[in-house]
């Protein structure tokens, strides 16, 4: 079983402080992105300008904070870490390669490469040997005494890669590393990255160039802050993978040119063609449950993973972007619970309550968190119609009947479920 290094669940990055007051139009740089990065992955993120590629990279690499959602790094919740803890975390586990190499102009290449490593205060001789070895692999041994302005773009970028690798990072984040390079140097750099990946380094790379993306094992195509497509290389050759990538990127641009604007309903109601059976997992998935054919809240649907209920068939997209599902007729019991999320917004800070829904079957229990508001009562009614026993110790159904509006229910929960809102500092 492969190690999961990064797990992102419904992460959003909003560039508008009025997210919860809804006074203005919010700009979602990242819109409900669910993503998993495993060890030894080489994932490439592509998309048009403004699609959120660099924003996603910055959020996943802890350089920027997400607005909402869950982001876990090797089981650690990133949002709970302080700035200093994040610094320490980056130092221990992460490496960065930027488009502009970002070498410090007043340090020689040797010192630039050494900068992350000297924090460990290791023996200078050993450090020197490691730097020499890296420089040898990257063919910059003769340049170690030079300064960034004395080197070419390709040489600086290779020095930047050495700078990123000196601490043996678990993950290497590359934001358009070949953006400023000619094709010869670009291929040199990508060959180096491929070799590193073969040796076990996990790489997450942002690019807009399909040829650069073809060096990866997986390509994620972003559009308007969300993941639109995922393509795997698997056993294909680099050329075939390049063609697949091109097909996705070309399709996107051609569709936008030739077709009329799609309605929001059409976009949202894209359901997977053949959902695969879901495996029970200990991870709780955040979803917005909708019954096909019935009205739902489009705003919530836009920002969350959709959990489609069509008769007894359930389907949704998992963190690997695969369509999965199960049959409600196999469910022996549904356990309902409640969870509270504190939203920190100054004077307007408040707790938001979400129902937790556990589907118990013979194969195991499927865990979900429903981002539904007032319409969740329809879901409960459906469970009753299908005659699935519902275990509801917190009397959530009664709360929905007594207080159909979300605001009033929240006040009730605050009064009656204080255990959910106790400070867990």
């Amino acid at each position: 079983m492969s190690n999961i290094l990064i797990e992102a669940n419904n992460i959003n990055k909003v560039y508008d402080p009025d997210l919860y007051l809804k006074r203005g139009k919010n700009f979602y740089a990242l819109n409900n992105v669910t993503f998993t990065l495993e060890e030894a992955d080489f994932t490439c993120i592509m998309g048009p300008s403004g699609s959120g590629k660099s924003t996603l990279l910055n959020c996943l690499s802890t350089l920027d904070r997400i607005s909402s959602g869950e982001l876990r790094f090797m089981e650690n919740d990133v949002s709970a870490m302080s700035k200093d803890q994040l610094c320490e975390f980056r130092y221990q586990y992460l490496g960065f390669v930027f488009q502009n190499h970002n070498l410090i102009p007043y340090l020689s290449l040797f010192d630039n490469i050494a900068t992350p490593a000297i924090l460990a205060k290791e023996d200078p001789k050993k450090l020197e040997e490691r730097i020499k070895q890296l420089a040898n692999d990257l063919e910059i041994t003769d340049l170690l005494n030079k300064f960034p302005h004395e080197c070419s773009g390709g040489e600086c970028q290779r020095a930047a890669i050495a700078h990123a690798l000196i601490n043996d990072p678990k993950i290497l984040f590359c934001d358009e590393p070949t953006g400023n390079l000619d094709s010869k140097n670009s291929h040199k750099v990508l060959n180096i990255l491929s070799k590193l990946n073969q040796q076990g380094t996990t790489i997450l790379l942002v690019t807009h160039d399909a040829m650069i993306a073809s060096y990866a094992k997986k390509m994620m195509y972003l559009y308007d802050g969300g993941i639109q497509s995922v393509v795997y290389k698997k056993q294909d050759s680099q050329l075939d993978f390049y063609k697949k990538i091109n097909a996705i990127t070309m399709q996107d641009s051609l569709l936008k040119e030739l077709s009329t604007k799609k309605s929001e309903t059409e976009v949202i109601q894209e359901t997977p063609v053949e959902p695969q059976p879901i495996q029970p997992s200990s991870k709780r998935v955040s979803v917005y449950m909708i019954i096909d054919g019935q009205p739902y809240d489009k705003d919530i649907a836009k920002n969350n993973t959709l959990f489609h209920i069509d008769g007894t068939k359930v389907s949704f997209i998992n963190q690997y972007n695969d369509p999965v599902g199960f049959d409600l007729s196999t469910i022996s019991q549904i356990n309902l619970d409640l969870t509270a999320q504190f939203v920190n917004f100054g004077l307007f800070s408040q707790y938001i309550f979400y129902p937790k829904v556990d589907f118990v079957s013979e194969e195991g229990t499927y865990l979900f968190k429903a981002k539904n508001k007032d319409d969740f009562i329809q879901i409960i009614n459906l469970f009753h119609q299908l005659q699935i026993p519902v275990n509801d110790p917190r009397q959530i159904e009664e709360a929905y009947h007594k207080y159909p509006r979300d605001y009033e229910r929240s006040k009730l929960y605050l009064r009656t479920h204080k255990d959910l809102t106790q400070y867990k500092g």
Binding site: A29, S49, G50, S51, G52, K53, S54, T55, N58, L63, D64, K83, D84, C87, E88, R90, Y91, Q92, F96, F98, Q99, N100, N102, L103, I104, P105, Y106, L107, S108, F110, D111, A114, T115, P116, I118, L119, K121, E122, D123, P124, L127, E128, I131, K132, L144, N145, K146, F147, P148, H149, H163, D175, E176, N180
Partner: protein, 437 residues
């Protein structure tokens, strides 16, 4: 073209007002220096006193002129992209020349006119505080000198602009690129080599040790009252040269020689490297204080005691210090902008706020010792010598020192606050690392 210049002014009001403000202050001081010079030309003193009291305001006026040009040069460097876009749009180099003449000519003319009034006001203040000496200067004559200086300033600015236009014209694509590499010439790491068989620079080490020893010896000998004036000047010159070499050469040499050991001390390594970079940027200003100020006081050594000397020296010193501090603050502000990406990068690789603060603190401490304390010790020595000769009263010396310390405290506080603000801004915003979206 005029409407374009108007638009540029409108959108960069803050920058232009700052430039205008600094030019006004420099022009006012320049007028005062020239007025003082003119006043003393009319007074009947011995040739020894005359040579000194003429030279001091002339040095002051020259510094004001140089600082005018120095500031304009840095403002013009920020306008490279503006000029290159105009060239790209088809503007001829000749037209660009007119563009520059109008833009800067207007500012210089305006500041010159206001500077006259400012200078007159300063002269009134000097009269007010130095009631035992009336400095009668000829307004016409002073305006003539002032106009000559103005022409020289304008010509120098146009010369700098021309050289920039020519280089822009030849390399237009480079300046239009959004990813320009920093072309500062940094200190070559010539002594450090990862090749263990490289020769150690023994000659340079011996020379540096000699410089260090002889500088401090010279500074000690300056205080020896038995030395003749010639020997005193000899020691003074050595001490001055030694000081310059210590600030500009010894620290880089130490960095290179002890580089291996510094790899175990990330704070020291980064602080020293940052200090080297800082010194290169601020070297002209640091050397101005380290060399010109002591020289002004050194000129007083061979002069018989006279109340006139104090009347001239103290205001000139204060005005020179204020000019240097203003230019320092401006240059430092531009320098900080250049450091943003470096600080963001260092933070991204794992240096937390505490380590960054320590690096900056150590850099500032080294600057304080080498750029402020040692020159201060040097100036104090000269002042002591001068006070022993009775040329300047002890109260004047105390006043001069208070002004020096107050102005430098202002610089240090300003540096500290601005660096803290910059760090906070850069750490909390990912745009300083990459293009971002």
């Amino acid at each position: 073209m005029l409407s374009f210049i108007q638009r540029v002014f409108k959108n960069q009001k803050k920058t232009y007002f700052l430039l205008l403000g600094i030019f006004i202050i420099l022009s006012s001081f320049e007028f005062s220096f020239l007025a003082i010079y003119d006043a003393f030309v009319r007074l009947d003193f011995s040739w020894q006193i005359r040579s000194t009291i003429h030279l001091i305001p002339v040095i002051g006026a020259a510094i004001a002129l140089l600082l005018n040009v120095f500031i304009t040069k840095y403002f013009m460097e920020n306008k490279k992209q503006e000029f290159s876009i105009l060239l790209l749009a088809g503007t001829k180099t000749k037209d660009l020349f007119y563009y520059l003449s109008i833009q800067f000519g207007f500012i210089i003319l305006l500041s010159a006119i206001i500077g006259v009034f400012g200078g007159m006001e300063i002269m009134h203040l000097i009269h007010y505080y130095q009631s035992h000496l009336i400095l009668q200067y000829s307004f016409t004559q002073t305006i003539f000198y002032y106009f000559c200086f103005l022409i020289i300033t304008y010509v120098l600015i146009l010369a700098i602009g021309s050289s920039q236009f020519i280089s822009l014209d030849l390399n237009l694509a480079k300046y239009l690129s959004s990813h320009q590499l920093d072309l500062k010439t940094s200190q070559k790491n010539s002594f450090f080599s990862i090749d263990n068989q490289a020769k150690k620079p023994f000659l340079s080490i011996v020379l540096s040790l000699f410089i260090l020893v002889f500088t401090f010896y010279s500074m000690k000998e300056i205080l020896n009252q038995n030395n003749s004036i010639t020997i005193l000047l000899f020691y003074y010159s050595f001490a001055l040269i030694g000081l310059i070499l210590i600030i500009t050469k010894t620290i880089p040499l130490l960095y290179d020689l002890f580089h291996h050991q510094l790899l175990k001390h990330p704070i020291c390594l980064n602080a020293l490297a940052l200090f080297q970079d800082f010194t290169k940027v601020m070297s002209s200003l640091i050397l101005l204080v380290a060399c010109i100020i002591p020289t002004i006081f050194m000129l007083l050594l061979n002069v018989p005691s006279s109340f006139v000397i104090e009347t001239v020296t103290v205001p000139c010193f204060i005005m020179i210090m204020i000019m240097i501090v203003l230019c320092f603050i401006l240059r430092f502000t531009l320098y900080l902008k250049e450091q943003q990406t470096s600080i963001a990068t260092i933070h991204a690789v794992g240096y937390d706020s505490k380590k960054l603060n320590n690096i900056v603190f150590l850099k500032n401490l080294i600057f304080f010792i080498l750029g402020i304390l040692i020159p201060l010790a040097f100036i104090l020595e000269i002042l002591y010598l001068v006070s022993q000769n009775g040329v300047i009263s002890q109260s004047a010396i105390v006043f001069v020192m208070i002004v020096y310390i107050a102005l430098y405290t202002l610089i240090v506080v300003y540096m500290f606050i601005q660096e803290k603000i910059m760090q906070r801004k850069v750490i909390n915003n990912v745009k300083y690392l990459n293009r971002g979206e």
